[in-house]
């Protein structure tokens, strides 16, 4: 998996290390407001949204944060990098499995 395209894997590592830059933009994206943020945004929480918003509460690294590794920018940055590594490992893992059903 890693022998070819060394330069691309290296590029990915550089991206991982730069990822905390993504933490600097702190504004919530349009259409991604939490129920609390909606009170400020529109003054109410739509009834259907309120029912469905917590459909999935099992995300182990919610918002790309490592539980415990928050508080300062430095710890959040560490959590972000760990999240990137975990995410990439999972993505690569899926395709490592997928590769078994692809012809040689």
């Amino acid at each position: 998996m890693f022998k070819q395209y060394k330069k691309l894997w290296l590029g990915l590592i550089v991206l991982i290390l730069l990822s905390p830059l993504g933490l600097i933009a702190t504004g919530t994206a349009f259409g991604e407001w939490s129920t609390e943020e909606l009170i400020t945004e529109v003054g109410f929480i739509p009834q259907g949204l309120e029912r469905m918003a917590d459909f999935w509460s099992h995300a182990p690294m919610s918002d790309y944060a490592v539980p415990g590794l928050e508080g300062s920018f430095l710890s959040s940055a560490g959590g972000y990098i760990i999240s990137a590594v975990v995410g990439i490992a999972l993505v690569v893992g899926v395709f490592a499995l997928f590769s078994k059903i692809v012809k040689e």
Partner: protein
Amino acid sequence: MHIPDGYLSPQTALVMTAVMVPVWGVAVKKVREKLKRKDVPLLAIGAAFSFTIMMFNLPIPGGSSAHAVGAVLLAILLGPWAATLGVSVALIIQALIFGDGGILAIGANCFNIAFVMSFVGYGVYKLVRGDSDAMSARALVAGVLAGYIGLNCAAFFTAVEFGSQYNWFKAADGTPLYFMYPLKTAIAAMMSEHLILAGPVEGIVTGLGAWFVGRNYPELLPRISKAALN
């Protein structure tokens, strides 16, 4: 942005999922037809790249944020079906593990960001690049335009999915049940962000990304044959 749960009605979320299931099926079939095992690491890298680039939030004046995707770059390298698959995997992991994007909204998010974006971007790339060399200025422009237009198409579909909820799904007291702004507002907000900021970033990521890959692995970006262009 990724649509969270609660912003689309269960009905709409279900329809988008129902649309994506056969798309995923075809994508798996096409990728198994077209790719060899030695190509899969590149697909893994592309999907991983997409995952990571979506973590780079770009600040939007007014307090919002947006992000590039990398779907078109992956489509340029391995074709739009592979890109659909790769970006879908990234999006699903983002939703399940990181709570980025809803679970019920996975179908809609994949439709917009993995499917529409990959195919539109790929089409634009082929059209603009023509049979020019992979490292030519024309190919670079093709990559930039393809990324820009692909992302904005994804944003447009997202805006329409959002805005349609406002008219279609209202509570007894007249308030919207799910997405809370009318269609015009959704389109204005989504398109201004992506036309002005996220789109150019995506264009640059796509153009430079393709250039970087072509520079280091020229065999990955061969001349597009006349047959493929027709």
